[in-house]
Structures are given as structure tokens and as C-alpha cells.
Symmetry: C2
DNA sequence: TCTTTACCTGAACCATTATTCAGACGGGAA
DNA sequence: TTCCCGTCTGAATAATGGTTCAGGTAAAGA
């Protein structure tokens, strides 16, 4: 054990609150079905039933997953008649996607 | 249901394999303790017992979490005598961190 | 060699999360 | 109003993930 190293690093460690918030954000991205939904929405705005058909999931399951994405503000939505149209919330998501894709390409 | 929209989007949807790999990557980042470990390593290289002290976890728990980070190549390590020193694997991690922090700042 | 320190591993237990099903709500059309 | 369609919700079950404990390996020193 090297107490001096520990003391140096301790103030740099993420606070529990920030670590928690960040973990919740990554959790929202840690499911293949949700990533498929996002990749579909990256292309165009879609309503729930179309999303379900595009990624081959039940509509209820899609609705549950969209709630998770909504809770982290990854998607936004608008109601039009009987349909609710979802789309990506902001541009960070696309940048994030590229970063990760790049990391995963490296063998 | 709008079959034309579904047909347009379907080829843009992530393949199951890629979605799976990406989900596993984000899963590795979806735990507050692992994020604390990474934030410590972003500052300097550390051995397991110092990491455990810095983030106030048991050494066994740290070892388990490091295995997850290793499996996604988020960290690398080298043995020196009885100690194993861990550090961040590459520069994408820092960029990723900034992207997410920016997203989370937006209220 | 025997002991100690640092680290890793597997299994058990507990907590969290995903999926499905059934039903409810809300808007539009008859 | 009544019915249908699209969407959401809550509960039950199944699966996944984290922590702890006990034990096991590897390296250094007595």
C-alpha cells in the first residue's frame, strides 16, 4: 500500500452523486434493443408502432425501453393524433456513438 | 402503421452483433464504482490495493470490477513485483467522458 | 522452505433489470 | 356515445449484475 498515492488521487475521484448520474446515463445505453432503437431514430423520426416493426420487438417492450431513453433525455417526442413520434434529443448522442464505434473497431 | 417508413429505416438499424458489442461496452461504464475507478486512473497509474483505498471498496470487489473494465479494454495493466498497476487503455475514454459530462450538464 | 502481501477466482446471496401479459387511457372516427 | 387503434402502465416472472466470503496463486523476503 502506498498511502501517498492514495492521498494524491482521492480528490480526483468522481463524487458519488456524479458517478451515480453518469452510471445511469450509460445504463440507458447498455442494452442492444435500446441501441437499435436509437440507430433507427438517428435516421428519422418514428412513431412507436413503426419502431416496434423496425427492430422486431413488441410494442409494450418498445414503450418500456423508450421510457428509459426518455429518462436520460436521449430522445424527445411529440404527439400527433393517435401517434407519438420519437426522435434523438441532441447532437451529443451522435458524437458519442462515433467515439465508441471507433474504440470498438480497434480489434 | 407506416410500412414505407419501416422499410426505409430497417437497413439503418444496428445489426444484432454490433448492438450487442456496443451494449457490452456501455455496460462496463454503467456502474458508479467502475466510473470512480476510471476517474482515479485518469489521474495516475495505480495498483489494486491503492485503488481499493482510493474509492473505498474491498479489494475483491475492485478486482472483479477491473476484470469488467479489462474485458472491454478500458484499462491496461502491468505487473511489478507483487503489485499489478492499472492505467487507462486509450485516449477515447477521456473524449467519451467529456461528451457525457457535457450532456449531463444540460440541466 | 515457510510466511506474508498482493491479487485473482468461483460460488452464494441479494438487488436490479428485462420481458411479458393484462388492462387502462386518450384521441379519432363511426 | 361507442368502438378501435396507438400508446402507456403495473405486476409477475425470469435473467442479469454486484458484493462478499472463502480459498487459491504468485512473488518477495526471512
Amino acid at each position: 500500500m502506498h498511502i501517498d498515492n492514495v492521498r494524491q488521487v482521492q480528490p480526483e475521484v468522481l463524487s458519488t452523486e456524479k458517478a451515480q448520474r453518469m452510471a445511469e446515463f450509460f445504463s440507458a445505453l447498455s442494452d442492444p434493443h435500446r441501441l437499435k432503437l436509437l440507430s433507427a431514430l438517428a435516421h428519422q423520426e418514428l412513431c412507436v408502432c413503426d419502431l416496434a416493426a423496425a427492430v422486431k420487438m413488441g410494442e409494450s417492450a418498445v414503450s418500456h425501453q423508450l421510457r428509459v431513453l426518455r429518462s436520460q433525455r436521449l430522445v424527445k417526442y411529440r404527439r400527433q393524433g393517435r401517434n407519438v413520434y420519437y426522435s434523438l434529443a441532441d447532437s451529443h448522442i451522435a458524437a458519442l456513438y462515433r467515439e465508441v464505434a471507433e474504440h470498438l473497431e480497434e480489434s
